[in-house]
């Protein structure tokens, strides 16, 4: 078990390294292949008013004339150990993990990411609780009442849920439910409030994004749970449970649902991991200052260091989620031996 975890941790580190190489290649190798010179790359750092000589100096200082391998090494070292930027009059130290400075704000990227993380976490975990409860409950009832009106209605809505994009359901929800509208369930203002500042305002500011995001996922979970329950409720061990004289409720929840849980755990871990890297559409639709919104803004402004920071941070969550899922698998299904 311990060796397994160690092996998985090493593997996770390898994965992250590969992701960082690919990210680096996308932003530095591909432009060069497309014809960019060290000067044209450096020009993005110095602003529009700089003359050719200043750009030359910047390119040299930023190391764009070095071989790509050296540049990558410097980039990776910055993340692991921090980096020093020599900007002429003095040296600026960027502590680890250093993803560089924003082109626009001149601020380091990492503290920005840490600022954005609680928003995305609030959104992702809140929505996750809703979609698991709603999705699994709907799936169980649908499976037990297969072919009933409830089942058909739920599965039709679920089909809508997986098919409708957030920027549609999100905007519809705002038109119908946001403050000032007939079915208003949100408070005035509506901008994001940190949990620790005011929990009630926090919940109000997130309720629509939660439900909208949860709707998308709950639909998939309902379908998955329904399929799993239909399968497990036909298993021999369900008949055994009934033959023992267990109440139907216990048979369904303790024996049936437990048997259908394994794939759900896997998908759940991966979904949450992915969302922690930023729920791009949801955050943009509701203007939540999370990682997804940060990424979109960075891309729109061609703010390279920010984009790279978000990509790597998101990859980190996905890799960690994968690791947790693998470990959890052995807990959920005792037949899985980790070695």
């Amino acid at each position: 078990m311990v060796t397994y975890i160690i092996r998985r941790l090493i593997w996770a580190a390898v994965m992250l390294t590969i992701v960082s190489i690919i990210t680096f290649a996308i932003f530095f190798l591909v432009p060069r292949l497309a014809g960019a010179t060290p000067e044209s790359l450096a020009a993005r750092y110095v602003g529009r008013t700089a003359n050719a000589e200043q750009v030359q100096i910047a390119a040299e200082k930023l190391g764009f004339n070095d071989p790509l391998v050296v540049q990558y090494g410097r980039f990776a070292k910055g993340i692991v150990a921090g980096a020093d930027y020599d900007y002429g009059p003095g040296v600026e130290h960027c502590p680890a993990p250093c993803f560089g400075y924003s082109f626009l704000t001149r601020l380091p990227v990492w503290p920005d990411l840490l600022d954005r993380l609680p928003v995305t976490m609030s959104l992702a975990f809140g929505a996750a609780i809703i979609w698991v409860l709603a999705g699994v409950a709907t799936g169980v009832v649908s499976a037990l009442k297969r072919g009933s009106f409830f089942d058909r209605a739920a599965m039709t809505i679920a089909l809508g849920g997986v098919s409708l994009p957030i920027f549609f359901t999100g905007i519809v929800s705002m038109v119908v439910f946001s403050y000032g509208n007939p079915f208003s369930i949100t408070a005035p203002g509506g901008s994001y409030t940190p949990l620790l500042d005011d929990p009630v305002a926090w919940a109000y500011s997130l309720v629509l994004p939660w439900v909208t995001l949860a709707f998308l996922y709950a639909a998939g979970y309902a379908r998955l749970t329904r399929a799993g329950m239909l399968e497990t409720m036909n298993e021999d061990y369900i008949r055994t449970a009934r033959a023992k004289g267990l109440a139907e409720r216990t048979v369904v929840l303790k024996h049936g649902l437990r048997g259908a849980l394994t794939p759900l755990v896997t998908i759940f871990g991966l979904d949450v991991g992915l969302l922690l890297g930023g729920a791009v559409l949801t955050e943009s639709t509701y203007s939540l200052p999370g990682m997804g919104k940060y990424a979109i803004d960075a891309i729109t402004n061609q703010d390279l260091p920010k984009v790279m920071g978000v990509v790597l941070f998101a990859a980190f969550f996905v890799v960690v989620a994968n690791l947790i899922v693998d470990l959890l698998y052995a807990v959920v299904d005792p037949r899985v031996r980790l070695a």
């Binding site: 298993e235 021999d236 061990y237 008949r239 055994t240 449970a241 009934r242 033959a243 023992k244 004289g245 267990l246 109440a247 024996h255 437990r258 048997g259 959920v332 299904d333 005792p334 037949r335």
Partner: protein, 341 residues
């Protein structure tokens, strides 16, 4: 008063293709301490009958009629909730494949404890002790350690022992074993059969053994019921069925049984064809399309459903052939072939 009595039990399932008559007018009696073997091919209604006695078809799509009397109580008309309280306690079941019949995600001990705690209001600790006792009783070594194992960590025979421990945990008066040894190695089969016989004696339970394996019923049963297409076609003591069987289908079953005392060059005498569809049961005697004696009934077997009639001393047969014809055929045509060496 008879301990268990079925009167004209019918269990029919509506399907898109028509009504599936899985059990169609089945009656028998069973006393405490006795063993009844129910024999037949797949789809003859054996398992549906046993699940019907346990009340596991209630609330489903099945249409059930007739009567099931268990210790003075009628179960077909009883509420599903009442039958549930009897399940596991008064009557219990041992299933065919213990690997799929036990929940893969719970330990063997937890599953036995669960069975016990449904019907006994005891602490987990007491239930655990009971589970260990039961495992010990069915011959599982180191029961205090094995109680925490998962079903997949047991061998096939051990799993079936654990399954039996689970079924017996509430001291049931009626035990139904559905193909209890089919999924097991031959050597283990004998051990399990021995175990079941011993336990039945200890618990003085009524035992129903459902199987397609005549060897198993020969080993355990006092009485044997042969089923075909949802109906009883022959019923008698083990001696009746093995020494003087009267139904051509039973002869076929006996002929399909591999035996060591027969020459290897000798072919088995299988029954031709396959069991009939339970939706379109052949008219007349359901067995007539496969019966080599059908032409001796003067056409009645294709037009008239035979009654289950007493041949002699409680030996019941559902066949149009006259008793004399059946006996002559058995003595002269079938028995010599079975015993040929």
């Amino acid at each position: 008063m008879t301990f268990l009595e079925l009167k004209d039990l019918r269990i029919h399932f509506p399907s898109d293709d028509g009504l599936v008559k899985s059990v169609d007018g089945l009656s028998f009696r069973l006393e405490r301490g006795k063993t009844l073997g129910i024999v037949g091919e797949s789809g003859s209604g054996k398992s549906v009958t046993s699940l019907g006695i346990l009340g596991l078809h209630k609330g489903g799509r099945a249409k059930i009629s007739g009567e099931i009397w268990l210790d003075g109580e009628e179960l077909v008309s009883a509420s599903a909730e009442h039958v549930r309280t009897l399940r596991g306690k008064k009557m219990a079941m041992i299933f065919q494949d213990p690997l799929s019949a036990m929940h893969p995600f719970y330990t063997v001990g937890a599953q036995i404890m669960e069975a016990y705690r449904i019907h006994h209001d005891v602490s987990k600790k007491v239930a655990r002790k009971h589970a260990i006792e039961m495992l010990d009783r069915v011959g599982i070594p180191q029961p205090d350690r094995r109680v925490d194992s998962y079903p997949h960590e047991f061998s096939g025979g051990m799993r079936q022992r654990a399954m039996i421990a689970m079924a017996l945990s509430c001291d049931p008066e009626l035990l139904i074993a559905d193909e209890p040894t089919t999924a097991l190695d031959v050597t283990v089969q004998a051990q399990i059969l021995d175990l079941m016989r011993d336990l039945q004696r200890d618990f003085n339970a009524a035992l129903i053994v459902i199987t397609h394996d005549l060897g198993v019923v020969a080993e355990l049963s006092d009485d044997i019921l042969v089923m075909y297409a949802g109906k009883a076609i022959e019923y008698g003591t083990a001696e009746d069925i093995f020494e003087r069987p009267e139904h051509p289908y039973t002869w076929g079953l006996l002929g399909s049984m591999p035996r060591l005392d027969r020459e290897r060059t000798e072919r088995l005498l299988p029954i031709k064809g396959s069991p009939p569809s339970l939706i379109n049961v052949p008219p007349g005697c359901a067995f007539h399309p496969r019966c080599t004696f059908a032409d001796r009934t003067g056409g009645r077997s294709t037009s008239e459903v035979p009654e289950l009639l007493e041949s002699e001393g409680g030996h019941l047969v559902r066949c149009h052939l006259s008793r004399d014809v059946r006996r002559t055929a058995w003595e002269n045509e079938i028995k010599p072939n079975l015993e040929a060496s």
